[in-house]
Amino acid sequence: MIKIVDYGMGNLRSVQKAFEKLGVEAGICSRPEQIERADKLVLPGVGAFRDAIAHLKQQELAQPVLQHIEADRPFLGICLGLQLLFDVSEEDGNWEGLGVTPGKVVRFEDRPGLKIPHMGWNSLERVGPHPLLEGIPDDAHFYFVHSYFVVPTDDSVVAARTEHGERFVSVISRGNLFATQFHPEKSQRVGLKLLQNFAEL
């Protein structure tokens, strides 16, 4: 069964509702032992990196999440759930992340006319075919809302990039580990299709 990690950061129900719409059972879990029993794990989240990592640790969820990823069981990070996988974030200081993916999280550089947060619908430049994006047209748009983005040390994890003032990494993938900067649960049919692809892995 798919489990959605509840660590007190944002709107988990919307992810759960999206799976419900697809007829896929997805439970919300907030205790370590619930995560240990998950076949597939979704780590959503909006808000501040610092608070998110603190909540994960306080609720003793960081360890089981790491174990799930290390065992290469299917994992989907969304938005902050992507950023948390990295070594360090520069959001309001320097905050250590889960360190699953080498690299850092940085802010969009201020440029004249560039709007931050990057808020709205944007498209992907795919590195190659990807199981999560199967059946989704190349020109499909997804819904983003963020001011920071990930910079992986190792380019081989990059599955797609997106342009907003500069090109940034918007999807990463390594084995059964997947994470998107955009919100599939807010991206209408194309987003639901991505979640369906994840459910069917």
Binding site: G10, N11, R13, S14, K17, A18, E20, K21, V46, G47, A48, D110, L114, K115, I116, P117, H118, M119, G120, W121, N122, S123, G135, I136, P137, D139, A140, H141, Y143, F144, V145, H146, S147, E163, H164, E185, K186, S187, Q188, R189, V190, G191, L192, K193
Partner: protein, 283 residues
């Protein structure tokens, strides 16, 4: 490339979508979930529900509308109208909306913006700014307004060159505040707002187009996205707001409600003129 957003706004009263001019002669225009679904099919990028009653007992009905909508359509949903406390925001977000828009409470208690952004994140805090043009000679005195936020004269080519104040109004445009729209926009950004919806009280309801001067000035003054609102009568007005006005998104109500233009038609109009927009794709 980031697409410019088209956002239909639905006035909700007693759990139903209503249409009317200046909140008078309200007519029933359907179930919010059905209307939301139709707009999704037409290619709406987001939805805004404006709770035009916002009385305590009606709040529960609105929460139910939000719950049902967020189970049916999967796009960002903003709710505005009478939001004054952190509890108001918490219950709305929990019901399934993604952003809340704060209007009068932002002016009467600016710290509320900061607290809300800290607690829930800037991404879900939208501040509505409703400016109205006031001739400098007609402006009242506002001794309590801080100097760095106070109205200042703006040149006004549209009005024949006489400088005017862009005075932020509250309570549906009835009460002036003495705040300058551009300065106030910078202030709400500093306090943590993630987006501004700018509704010109002069243009609202006219169908003569958005107030491009104020929209441009505010969009240039802040880094956060600005949504143009008030005055849309046709696709050309949305085009102007998204180009000349510098807005990231355009909000409209009546042109979509009355079926004058569909969102899809509007987007094609924009795309033909080089504005980046998103179209629904088949999956």
């Amino acid at each position: 490339m980031l697409a410019k957003r088209i956002i239909p706004c639905l006035d909700v009263h007693g759990g139903r979508v209503v249409k009317g001019v200046n909140f008078l002669n309200l007519q029933d225009a359907g179930d919010p979930v059905e209307v939301a679904t139709r707009y999704e099919g037409e290619g709406a990028d987001e939805l805004v529900f404006l709770d035009i009653t916002a009385s305590h007992e009606e709040r529960e009905i609105m929460l139910d509308v939000v719950r049902r909508t967020s189970e049916t359509v999967f796009m960002p949903l903003t709710v505005g109208g009478g939001i004054r406390t952190l509890d108001d925001i918490r219950t709305l977000l929990k019901a399934g909306c993604d952003k809340v828009s704060i209007n009068s409470a932002a002016v009467t208690n600016p710290e509320f913006i900061r607290e809300a952004a800290l607690r829930f994140g800037s991404q879900c805090i939208v501040v509505n700014i409703d400016p109205k043009r006031i001739a400098v000679k007609d402006e009242r005195d506002f001794p309590d307004v801080a100097d760095h936020l106070r109205v200042q004269p703006h040149p006004s080519p549209d009005a024949g060159g006489e400088p005017v104040y862009w005075d932020v109004h509250i309570n549906g445009g009835r009460i002036p505040t003495g705040l300058d729209a551009v300065r106030w926009a910078r202030e709400v950004e500093r306090l943590g707002a993630g987006e501004i919806v700018l509704t010109s009280m002069d243009a609202d309801g006219t169908k003569d187009g958005y107030d491009l001067e104020i929209t441009r000035a505010v969009a240039d003054a802040v880094t956060i996205p600005v949504v143009a609102s008030g005055g849309a009568g046709g696709p050309e007005h949305l085009f102007e707001a998204l180009t000349e006005g510098g807005a990231s998104a355009a909000l409209a109500a009546s042109i979509f409600h009355y079926g004058t233009y569909t969102i899809d038609e509007t987007k094609h109009f924009l795309a033909e003129r080089g504005v980046p927009v998103r179209f629904n794709v088949t999956v």
